[in-house]
Amino acid sequence: MDELGDRTMDMTDSASTNQPLLEVKDLRVVLPLLEGNLVAADGVSFAIRPGRTLGLVGESGCGKTITAQSILKIAPRKARTDGRILLHYADRPATDIIGLGADDPELLKIRGGECAMIFQEPMTSFSPVHTIGNQLMETILLHRTRHRREAHDLAVAMLAKVGIPAPAETLKKYPHHLSGGMRQRAMIAMALASQPRLLIADEPTTALDVTVQAQVLRLMKDLQHDLGMAILYISHDLGVIARMADEVAVMYMGSIVEQAAVRDLLRTPMHPYTRGLMASVPRIGKKSGEPLQSIKGNVPVPINKPRACGFFPRCPVAIEGVCDRVVPPLTPVAAGHSAACFRYSEVVAAAGLDQGGANVH
């Protein structure tokens, strides 16, 4: 386990420098479909600091997953990606992942080595015809060591670390021999086996039942504490985000509409969409019979998206003539708290609009 300990030291060192580990700048992903161009991510920017967790939250189809896929360049082949995704190193200049070619050895090193990813469906994320050990050791052989013996020992240690009983026997098993929770543990083991600096978790607990979900979340927290990796945690579940994240970015229709430290965001949500999301979380203690609130309407499909606030058609406080004409930029509206809503004078100013034009509160 000494190997696993090495990087923890580096991580705490670089964490103190406060330099971001990964910066996504103005990411734009367009999927050309028969019906038109689907703008899956539209000017997404965020940064993740070493050892910290950024929660990316939003409804299905808001662009969370494609944003995460873009970081590893595993988005669908026909997706057109613009912007910059900078991976910073302590000892050399940052790499722009978007600029890397599909066969670039640097990209193959980043995938699974610098940044690993775990997925929503533990049932389908493993190849059904290869053993867990084969797939886990593949990661280790790609990124850690060339010696099979050593790779085997590392794999056993990794399975033990994620709490899988009888790790050496589990290596010989096929995915269908394991339960969903165990499979997701094995998936986490596979992702972390290469000691990545960033773990991208795309709804890793959505397919699991609640008690298993709690175990897996705790496991990820513990491993982050031990190994010191940063996490990009993607979920539609504000409860899970509240538990996991240090900072939160709320996405809606391909754009980040609000970003803040988790405490600030949950205490004083500023964007009407975030408020709607929070009001629709079921809570114990609410009077029974009281209907659960929901945001009216559905997420529109962002094909040939008009130049307007994406939330305008569903927004209870929309300003006619402003919100449907101009895209509100994401602007700091309080210390460490940004929102993209014309209800705030800072946003109106940032968009270069006349203050009187919007009914500011």
Binding site: L72, I74, A102, D103, L108, K109, I110, R111, G112, G113, A116, M117, F119, E121, T124, S125, F126, S127, P128, V129, H130, Q135, E138, T139, L142, H143, Y174, H176, M187, M190
Partner: protein
């Protein structure tokens, strides 16, 4: 795994017994017998046989006995001594008639299968990895043609083309001087020269079908989460293709390999007649027309054995390759 194989072999024996009964019954379904065919032939040649002669032959060949007894007289020596019976028409043991043709049938079939896979697998992989490219469209177009063109027509086209272009007609599997010669290096080389045309003709439909199956399988597998997982781990694309989606996409190919063999054998009968191939197909056809019972039944039985063995082999291979199949079968 061993018990699975033993069980499969047990089923195989049962299926073969059923095949032998059904074959024998169906061959004897048409009215009349070889004796009547024989009498008609003699009459046509201007030397009709007397009724006494015909009755004598009927008794000698055991054709006066009930069908079940005839079956018994055929199957028992077959199982105990490997004796396939006697051909009425050719006046020689069935085995001596079939033996050479059987080997040639197996050679043509196996070489055709190798041709099918050697061509279709790389083409399907190219087609799937270059979906909607010009090459993919060209392959799909040729594939449709390959499926749609009857193979005897293709055989005729190749014969004509070859006669026009090279001045030779590549019929048969041997040149005249090697036709009845014993096996030698020269005869083997001669066979190799004659094989390509029948192999292409016989294998074309199978190739086209396999390309289509494997291409769509691969495209399905490319979408699967485990492929994305492997890519996200940093596995290089080429290795990823062959280790993951290709491996899973092979399953239906392996499980249908057993069916390809009989398809090639039976589908090639018309081709064999057009190209004059000394395989079992034309002999079987002739035997059925002449109601030469033992030749027909024995030929069908051998084709049945080839089929069943092929299916069992592909099932076992599938169980070896896919852990999910092993699990399902052991329960």
């Amino acid at each position: 795994m061993l018990s699975y194989i033993v069980r499969r072999l047990g089923y195989m024996v049962v299926v073969l017994i059923l095949i032998s009964i059904v074959c024998f019954y169906i061959i004897n379904l048409p009215p009349g017998s070889f004796i009547e065919t024989f009498a008609t032939q003699l009459e046509a040649s201007g030397a009709p046989a007397s009724q006494a002669q015909l009755d004598y032959l009927t008794v000698r060949y055991g054709l006066d006995q009930p069908l079940i007894v005839q079956y018994w007289n055929w199957i028992i020596p077959l199982v105990t001594h490997g004796d396939f019976g006697f051909s009425f028409e050719w006046q020689q043991p069935v085995w001596s008639l079939i033996a050479d043709r059987l080997w040639l049938t197996i050679i043509v079939s196996l070489v055709s299968m190798v041709f099918v896979y050697a061509v279709s697998i790389p083409v399907a992989v190219y087609s799937a990895t270059h979906q909607y490219s010009a090459g993919d469209y060209a392959v799909s177009f040729l594939g449709v043609i390959g499926l749609a063109v009857p193979n005897f027509l293709l055989a005729l086209v190749l014969l004509v083309a070859s006669a026009r272009l090279f001045g030779i007609t590549p019929t048969g599997l041997f040149s005249p001087e090697y036709m009845n010669a014993p096996w030698s290096w020269g005869r083997f080389v001669d066979l190799l020269i004659h094989l390509p045309v029948p192999v292409v003709v016989v294998g074309l439909a199978g190739t086209a079908a396999t390309i289509r199956i494997l291409r769509s399988q691969l495209l399905d597998e490319f979408q699967k989460q485990y492929v994305v997982t492997a890519r996200a781990k940093g596995v290089p694309e080429g290795r990823l293709l062959f280790k993951y989606p290709f491996r899973v996409a092979l399953n239906p190919i392996i499980s249908t390999a057993g069916h390809l063999l009989p398809e090639i054998v039976s589908g090639s009968t018309i081709v064999a007649i057009v190209l004059g191939l000394p395989t079992i197909g034309p002999l079987l056809l002739r035997a059925i027309i002449a109601q030469d019972t033992y030749v027909a039944a024995s030929s069908l039985m051998l084709l049945g054995v080839l089929t069943v063995v092929g299916v069992v082999l592909s099932d076992i291979l599938l169980a070896v390759l896919d852990p999910r199949v092993r699990m399902g079968r052991s329960n």
